[in-house]
Amino acid sequence: MTYIFSNKGVCMQSNAALEYDYSVAKLFTYTTILFGILGMLIGTLIAAQMAFPELNYFFGEYGTFSRLRPMHTNIVIFGFTLSGIWATAYYVSQRVLKVSMAESKFLMALGKIHFWLYFFGALAAVITLGMGITQAKEYAVFEWPIDVVIVLIWVIWGLSLFGLIGIRREKSLYISMWYYIATFLGIAMLYLFNNMAVPTYFASGGYGSIFHSVSMYSGTNDALVQWWYGHNAVAFGFTVPIIAMIYYFLPKESGQAVYSYKLSLLSFWGLMFVYLWAGSHHLIWSTVPDWMQTMGSIFSVVLILPSWGSAINMLLTMKGEWNQLTENPLIKLMVLASTFYMLSTIEGPIQSIKSVNAIAHFTDWIPGHVHDGVLGWVVFMIMAALFHMAPRMFKKEIYSKKLIDMQFWLQTTAIVLYFTSMWIAGITQGMMWRAVDEYGNLMYSFIDTVAVLHPYYTIRAVAGVLYLLGFFMFAYNMILTMTAAKKIDTEPQFRSPMA
């Protein structure tokens, strides 16, 4: 191995000098695809159920919208996204820390334990959730035995992450590492506090189900802790680690240096400080104290700054190289991801303004908002990252460029259909709930405001089918890249080779 030391003491190393070990990254890549398909399949089904309620009866009591909805959210969050985060984390951290996992048997073992514990934990989570064993807190539904496993998985990831940092050659942590570290710390803190619960079997002296627990917080407090968690699980699951990805993969794929170090500093520390305050915007007009609601509202608006800071930093990284957008579909995916991140992070603050929230809350505008973020930003970025990693991990060309192009347009159309239909649905319903006639009486019964949404629910279901189709194209392309694509001899430096 040859290393070139610059005068600043920064260790730089010539390309391909170090053989990185991708076995753990590959395993998580497989589950990203697997859980992606499963989660989005269920998502599409439940979208269709809202337009066509007859679709509720395929799997008896297990197939109703209400039972499948947490399946969808949890599989895409803790299955697809988390797998994607870990696939990229195991890939990126070796490369930016300039150390191979193969150099430490301990870290290799830890990585594999991490994966398998996660995989079986995820299966157990899906099964128990299917059985209806739930805490009924959104995105924190798993009962305490699963929580214990999740904590264990998290600790192992922490050991693995910091273990690799401990033996790094590159002393200075690259921006992506800041975000991965923040992901680890943020989720650890939030998950622990929100899931504080007492198992009733033990507390009552052996009565009832062993799985059941009761929250340590009640009512308004429980709501406050839950949305502090819920909002920031989005922060540290859907934002922070995805930014970690784009800061690595966009410069790598395009061969461009990150536009501004200072902007990345400002965005990172700004995001860390501001994000956590905004959780209470989920509780505007609820029974939590007014000052908390106001804080949530104000900090949500402030949050535009660090969010757009990262996004603009990424877009400016492409300065002078916009031609790559037409030549390289991975750049296209990442630039669109960044753009959807901007859309989503301006939309969120708008919904957090009290008067807007009065209309938007409880309506379909909220899932609309979530989905332009996750479909446009999270999934696009994860797919781009995996496409970039594939030639380097499997030493193969990407199977088909054309397929990525087609997939891109199909899914972009789907996202636009999704959020526009949900904007209209949400605002329509929000306005109808409050509409009064000339005497001040409510104009519509509740069911009127449901019936009117049928066309929008139908459009959304179509959007779901299109998006799912695009994801199948992604999965197909990835699988053929692994199995059937042309071998490459040298690792590509920047742009990923594709047929």
Partner: protein, 221 residues
């Protein structure tokens, strides 16, 4: 400072943690004791109602129904008085929900009856023709888990001083007492229902989920 932090991962992590933990301390802690105080006269859930709440959780009603009436005239006209913090003092977890595909349920007990719920849960379209809610027929045959509900009541009584077995509270007693009380309550509800299977089950000392759920719904006022 930032360059130094980026070379010292431990202190970097400590820095990040302090920055992210700060908001929670300021926003959540100060109000904690006050927010959990019950409104005057609030009674905890009976064991049967708790079992019903578990059905509500299990079939995940919160996916489409809120239990939070906001302080707007359009909401108080539709659902009744706006919700107060102290009304939720015995709700573990809180079940406010975040989406109203269906209407709010915080005071459903004020304007829907056992009979209505029975028809509605069996076939929503029979009472609301345009409804997109699925039927929950399995609740008429699945047996509610009274023992776990009892375990929950014992737990909150012991750990959080929820007023069971006190003056003006709800009687809990031993497991045998609680079982008997739940069955008595269930019989009263089944008497207002027409489904023969449900009536037979209750007569045999078994409580179907629908009965527990209706007990819980009727308590929401």
């Amino acid at each position: 400072m930032f360059h130094w932090l980026e070379k010292n991962p431990f202190f970097f992590a400590v820095g990040v943690f302090l920055v992210i933990a700060f908001a929670g301390l300021i926003e959540i802690l100060p109000n904690f004791a006050e927010a959990s105080r019950p409104v005057v006269g609030l009674k905890p859930y009976t064991v049967l109602e708790l079992a019903g709440k578990e059905v509500y959780k299990k079939d995940n009603c919160i996916a489409c129904h809120s239990q939070l009436i906001r302080p707007f005239k359009s909401e108080t006209d539709r659902y009744g008085q706006y919700s107060l913090s102290g009304e939720y003092a015995y709700d573990r977890p809180f079940l406010w929900g975040s989406k109203r595909t269906g209407p709010d349920l915080h005071r459903i007990g004020n304007y829907r009856s056992t009979d209505w719920h029975e028809n509605h849960m069996w076939d929503p379209k029979s009472v609301i023709p345009q409804s997109i809610m699925p039927a929950y027929k399995h609740q008429f045959s699945n047996i509610a888990d009274i023992e776990t509900a009892y375990a929950e009541a014992v737990t909150v009584k012991k750990l959080f001083n929820t007023p069971y077995d006190v003056d003006g509270g709800v009687a809990l007693g031993s497991w045998e007492d609680a079982q008997a009380a739940a069955l008595t309550e269930a019989k009263a509800i089944a008497a207002d229902m027409k489904n023969q299977d449900v009536k037979d089950l209750v007569a045999n000392g078994q409580i179907p989920e629908i009965v527990a759920l209706i007990a819980y719904m009727n308590k929401l006022k």
